[in-house]
């Protein structure tokens, strides 16, 4: 999570690097130099009101190569990927893809997520996919509650949902699970809690 103190210094912009911008252009196929600095991305952003850094500022920080700030920002873990920004951007800058790219980078470098539960949920979900090929929703939510130490979270609602037949307690495994597991081979093993 970034706060105003993170910006209380003079930034020597002549000494900053272009490499992040170039990296993003290569991997995300989107050119942040097309940004008109209009703020339309941030004005309609579903969660800008809780972001530490609005999307427009994210683009600006990429321009000046402030990678360390970007990798620890809270917006990475509170972006709902609703695609409003990219659709409204007058230059079609693919901000959701940039957010994915930066999050993936932060995750692979082990930068602590500002919302550890969000990261944990993603990890558990991927573990389940690796194990079963599909997501057993009931098992996942129980696992998540235990691992995030929220033992009673949604317990009452969970019971209601169980009786409504919404939670399927038996995980189904797909036949060709090996094929799915192959997709995980280049992915660092999930951190065990």
């Amino acid at each position: 999570m970034l706060n105003t103190a993170d910006f209380y210094h003079v930034l020597r912009i002549d000494q900053t690097s272009n490499s992040l911008r170039e990296e993003i252009k290569e991997h995300c196929h989107t050119d942040i130099e097309m940004c008109l600095e209009c703020g339309k991305c941030s004005g309609g952003c579903s969660n800008a009101h809780i972001f530490d850094i609005t999307p427009r500022k994210i683009i600006q920080l990429i321009k000046v190569g402030e990678e360390a700030k970007l990798l620890k920002m809270d917006a990475l873990w509170s972006c709902v990927a609703c695609q409003l920004c990219v659709d409204r951007c007058p230059s079609s800058i693919n901000i959701p893809r940039i957010m994915d790219y930066l999050r993936e980078k932060a995750y692979s470098q082990g930068v602590p997520a500002s919302r550890p539960n969000v990261e944990l949920f993603h990890e558990l979900m991927l573990n389940n996919i690796k194990r079963f090929g599909r997501v057993p929703e009931a098992l996942l939510s129980v696992e998540f509650n235990i691992r995030s130490k929220q033992y009673t979270k949604d317990a009452e609602m969970g019971m209601k949902m169980f009786f409504k037949g919404k939670l399927n307690p038996i995980p189904a495994r797909i036949k060709n699970i090996k094929q799915v597991q192959r997709m995980f081979r280049d992915i660092p093993a999930q951190r065990e809690g």
């Binding site: 097309m34 008109l36 600095e37 209009c38 703020g39 339309k40 991305c41 941030s42 004005g43 309609g44 952003c45 800008a48 009101h49 609005t54 427009r56 500022k57 409003l84 659709d87 409204r88 951007c89 007058p90 230059s91 079609s92």
Partner: protein
């Protein structure tokens, strides 16, 4: 052939076309002006106010029309378009929509511009919600509002700039040049009608490059108290009879909202389809967007004996349209004098 028998065809009876016709006629040559609408004066005739001197735009148009009417060399044909044309030596043989066939020694294209279809911005709700107007519709609304009771006037009006311009995603990449100024004017006129109204102009930049323009825009902010918010609006959400505008104030870097009664969209000026068609008929050059393009070194000329003026070349304000009309006329006159 007597030079004074030389005849120019002026297509379009807006401010640029009227200026060209008046100057060509004034020099002693014949000028036939055709206008596809019933009324002369083009966009200017539909405006409630003008910048940068708050002049009455209809008076300006009426003055130009009167000059043309009083000039025996100028003939104006409204409800008339060009059907076809072909070149015969140095003349154009033109068939008009009234089936008249006439010969011309030069042509001035002054067909003006169209407006970008604001309904393509679904996020602004034009066509979906009431009280979201285009800038031109708002000019008519201003006239209408003159007779309203004060309590019926909108209390909060939001103006959005760059709707369809400076947008490579669903509009045109260019800046359509005059929206900053007419938006300042419209917001100022709203404040004149109802000084208690709050007017917000959402802007990405404000561009006021012209004689008296910066002073005009500043006076709208400082003397008429129109609030400028730097940020391009993202979405309009109707809520309890109001239109909730969501944007980012990019100076503060925070999301802001305005509960507006009325929203005015400065939709871009774009090439008119009829211009592209006419360019084909007369061999005029067209740029990448569909505006008339000039021959390098000849800023009012676009083909052999074909000239242009006004918004068919690029969005232009009223003074510029008159300059261009006069400049195209000067070229026509010079050509006729040499013939």
């Amino acid at each position: 052939m007597n030079n004074s028998e030389k005849t120019a065809l002026i297509i379009g009876g807006g401010l640029a076309g009227l200026e060209a016709a008046n100057k060509i006629g004034g020099a002693g040559y014949k000028a036939i002006l055709v206008e596809k609408e019933e009324q002369l004066g083009g966009i200017m005739k539909q405006l409630y106010g003008s910048f940068p001197r708050w002049d009455n735009p209809r008076e300006l148009v009426d003055q130009k029309v009167k000059m043309a009417q009083e000039n025996p060399n100028v003939t104006m044909k409204t409800n008339t378009t060009v059907k076809s044309a072909h070149k015969k030596d140095q003349t154009f043989v033109v068939e008009l929509s009234n089936n008249e066939q006439m010969e011309f020694d030069a042509v001035v294209l002054a067909t003006g511009f169209d407006f970008y279809d604001a309904s393509q911005y679904g996020e602004y709700g034009y066509g979906a919600f009431d009280n979201v107007l285009t800038a031109l519709e708002f000019e008519a609304k201003l006239k209408e509002m003159e007779s309203w009771d004060k309590e019926d006037l909108p209390q909060v009006v939001a103006f959005f700039k760059c709707v369809g311009s400076r947008d490579r995603s669903k509009g045109y990449p260019y800046c359509s040049k005059i929206c900053c100024m007419f938006t300042a004017k419209e917001a100022g006129l709203m404040k004149d009608l109802n000084p208690d109204a709050k007017c917000f102009v959402f802007y990405m930049d404000y561009r006021a490059a012209g004689k008296e323009y910066e002073e005009f825009a500043r006076s709208v902010m400082e003397d008429k108290h129109v609030r400028y918010v730097r940020g391009r609006p993202a979405k309009v959400l109707p809520e309890n009879g109001k239109l909730m505008v969501r944007a980012e104030d990019t100076l503060m870097g925070v999301p802001v909202e305005v509960a507006a009664d009325m929203i005015v969209l400065a939709n871009a000026m774009i090439p008119a389809e009829s211009t592209i068609e006419l360019a084909g008929i007369f061999g005029a050059k067209i740029d990448q967007y569909g505006f008339i393009d000039y021959i390098p070194g000849h800023p009012t000329q676009t083909g052999d004996r074909v000239f242009f003026a006004g918004g068919c070349g690029f969005p232009v304000e009223s003074l510029g349209a008159q300059y261009q009309g006069a400049a195209a006329a000067a070229d026509v006159i010079a050509l006729f004098t040499q013939d």
